[in-house]
Symmetry: C2
Subunit: 505 residues, 2 copies
């Protein structure tokens, strides 16, 4: 071997050591259980995709976040069409798959749990490689599919025992109606502010939908500054000028009235919205859609306590076209949305030219796990063996080995200790891994035809201090002696008792 | 959206559509079950690693196979120490982890199931992105750990119901003894052949261990050509000159005697090997190690039928230092080794400088799955819903939705059909997905207080031809009528019968 290499990981990625990994696996298995009960089918796509598949068009904002990979078939990296990247989400690959395999079932309802990569600046809880767990229904126009996605979000969060949560939903179509109601044109001409020491800036075109970007900042910058940003602009805390969108007082008053619609009950929000949009063409149909979804949610038992109609929900991604949804943990709102999605009826068109409606949601497994760890509600599973077979007398190794396999074949997860010498070391090892029971069997026990089962929790405090087998024999903290022939039933009983005391159900 | 993008995947990677993915998942869950019974702990490491972590030293052969990734923190790609790559195996990242986290348990016994990437030329069954499932014991010097790895290989292949298989093992140390026995020096001087139209080539240094590379070709090129390559060299079929290693006749005779040691019984092979190496210093200890391993395997029930001592096993990777093992499927030997590994006592040193013994094995999940598909022994699971709730009358949608959730809450995986109209289409959909039962409930059934359960297998042939609900009502192929209130117990019974007939246990 050549010179020494520093052991380290790249900034923004991380290792999951066994305890975290066991918790993540528990989450993934629980989520998978819910999705399979809903009949979603598993799909896997490659991490490596052609760059144009990921970006769609070169100017796309998302393309800044894509890790570029050198194509070994074109090491010069000169053929733009051959460039490679790591996927940044699971929705774009799904759209590609649906366009590529024409004989897939329609509707195509799939789940996928896979890592995604984002070359963004890493931050606390923001990783460059993380797991997403998505469900999507492709080829379904009916909003029943959206209802089902929200129901699955609720059932999943319940199955994960995350504590109280709220799913919030709205619709991009309602926001588009707001533009109509406030008489905001498709294109706004924004004039940068003239200052004493600079010439007037050139006018800039902004989309009418830019209003949503500003509304999204409501919780962050407050109502007054939102009003200023929609009209004249304002100087923020650092003194930087935030240009205004140039809306009129009447336009902003109308937006204000929309934003003021709030309520704990979906029916109440719908009633206010109907009144406000009474004269807006097309509004009645959209409100009826939301009302139908709300009624179906109610019928299925997803009441106002778990699913709220919240008109401030917009979601960041550009491809949404209809209902949008997100979920927050009420005890950890600072972690933001842990589960979000919406309807994207035009994404598949990018590949096939065919308009194929679709809706879905994505759970950020790692962010959710971080929130659960913060709340001390993460699953405590260790995935370690249930029993450690200690090596008391080295010459008896064959007997320990046979005993270990006897346990495994009885369905008990067992490990034979193969590390350094000393009883104390073996107990510490079991403790460190979270192995609940150690089987102790030396020449003495063999002569008496017994084995000793040590309950680690019961004997923990004292054992760490014992280094010698003879000392151990004298004290025997947390111990049970059983005849050798009864080892397996006795272990099953002891493990059942321990599990009853400590496990997360 | 901008211009249309062609939907395609990069050469050498692939999508796993639901049926394949369900089969892969079944394999992974079964393998995980065995490993957890052995007490291996789960670990996950990032796909992105610093390039020097992966390659060790720049000249490494493996580095040719690494996908290079541009580091967003250094987009110029000029800082060699910051370059990134995708991992090509799970062993090197494990060695990094063990060196990096000093408070990990020792021994550290972990499993990891993750994709790896290799920028090699793709071929039939050789992918550039594929799943590996590894177990390793780090920090265990005792060969009991190697015995345990081989036992786990056997138990895993049994659990996967792959049919007859054989684990073959040997040891790098025995091959090193062969060099001593045949009096082959550490360095060989190879003289390229002088030809009529070219000057004599410069002498080249080759390692004595190059002999193993030649022996590895035994099955491919035959005994005579191996003999020639070890001595004078020879012209291969295409006329190209394969230079010889320049060994003497006596040296090759000795290698020949070693290679001739074969036997169906491990004890027989050990006996012959003892006789051959009777005068080789250090041989007795190594042979005793193999003998101990063989005895322990026998004691645990892994007899000569499942585990063979095969002195021709060498394994390709450079880092092995002790026992090496591989498994082949006896009914599909052309797929080669589907599971392989060995002891690598010096790999962790690359990072920590500390010698930390380790042993493990890796299962090529995708290659194994390809072999099972070839043998028609792949699991037939579909992971689809168990029941499809058909939409007979659109105005009854709320009732179908409620029925679907009633089934899900009873633990029955259910899907509400949300695609295009027509009963025939719904039956075809259930058939395509492998959903075994369709619940049919229209105005007629509602009036009679019943639901109809359609067993897809039983009614398959006829149904594909029926497009109209009225026709269906007249014929009702494979149908059972049950009172609405008895739907769930009746479904449980029907699903139990269907599963009993078709499932892989």
């Amino acid at each position: 071997m050549a010179e020494r290499v520093e052991s380290r990981v790249f900034r923004g990625v991380r290792d999951l050591l066994p305890r975290e990994m066991a918790a993540r696996q528990w989450l993934i298995e629980r989520i998978r259980g819910v999705y399979e009960r809903y009949g979603f089918l598993p799909l896997e796509t490659p991490a490596l995709e052609h760059l144009d598949v990921l970006t769609g068009s070169a100017g796309d904002e998302a393309s800044q976040s894509i890790f570029r990979v050198r194509n070994p078939d074109d090491p010069s990296d000169e053929q733009p069409v051959d460039r490679l990247g790591l996927r940044f989400d699971l929705t774009v690959p799904l759209a590609r798959v649906v366009a590529q395999y024409r004989d897939l079932p329609r509707p195509f309802r799939r789940y996928q749990v896979s890592p995604v990569w984002r070359a963004d600046r890493p931050d606390r809880g923001r990783f460059r490689e993380f797991i997403q767990f998505d469900i999507d229904s492709v080829g379904v126009e009916s909003n029943v599919a959206d209802v089902e996605i929200m129901a699955a979000m609720c059932d999943t969060l319940s199955a994960l025992e995350v504590g109280p949560f709220r799913v919030r939903f709205s619709s991009r179509r309602i926001l588009n109606l707001l533009l109509r109601y406030a008489e905001i044109p498709d294109t706004l001409i924004v004039r940068p502010r003239r200052t004493a020491d600079s010439p007037p800036g050139e006018p800039v075109e902004r989309a009418g939908a830019d209003v949503f970007r500003v509304l999204d900042k409501l919780e962050k910058i407050g109502r007054d500054n939102v009003r200023l940003e929609l009209t004249t602009g304002y100087a923020d805390k650092s003194g930087d000028w935030v240009p205004g969108l140039g809306l009129s007082g009447e336009q902003v008053d109308r937006i204000d009235r929309f934003v003021s619609i709030q309520g704990d009950r979906r029916a109440e929000v719908l009633k206010q919205l109907s009144a406000l949009f009474a004269d807006v063409p097309g509004a009645a149909d959209e409100i009826e859609s939301l009302s139908d979804m709300s009624r179906q949610l109610e019928m299925l038992g997803y009441g106002d306590d778990r699913v709220a109609l919240d008109l401030s929900v917009a979601r960041g991604l550009a491809y949404y076209t209809g209902p949008v949804f997100e979920a927050i943990l009420l005890d950890a709102p600072q972690f933001g949305s842990v589960f979000g999605g919406g309807r994207y009826d035009e994404l598949v068109m990018r590949f096939s030219g065919e308009k194929l409606p679709a809706t879905g949601a994505s759970i950020g497994v790692d962010r959710l796990l971080a929130a659960l760890v913060h709340l001390d509600r993460a699953p405590k599973r260790t995935a370690a063996a249930q029993v450690l077979v200690a090596v008391v007398d080295r010459p008896m190794m064959d007997e320990y080995l046979a005993m270990t396999f006897e346990l495994r074949r009885a369905g008990i997860a067992a490990e034979l200790y193969l590390g350094g010498k000393g009883m104390g070391r073996q107990f510490k090892y079991a403790d460190q891994l979270g192995i609940p029971v150690v089987v102790v069997y030396g020449g003495n026990e063999k002569a008496r035809g017994i084995v000793v089962l040590k309950d680690m929790q019961a004997g923990l405090a004292r054992s760490a201090e014992i280094t010698d087998h003879q000392d151990w024999v004298r004290e025997r903290p947390g111990q049970t002696e059983v005849p050798h022939g009864e080892m397996i039933p006795a272990l099953r009983k002891l493990l059942g008792e321990i599990e009853g005391e400590t496990s997360k159900s």
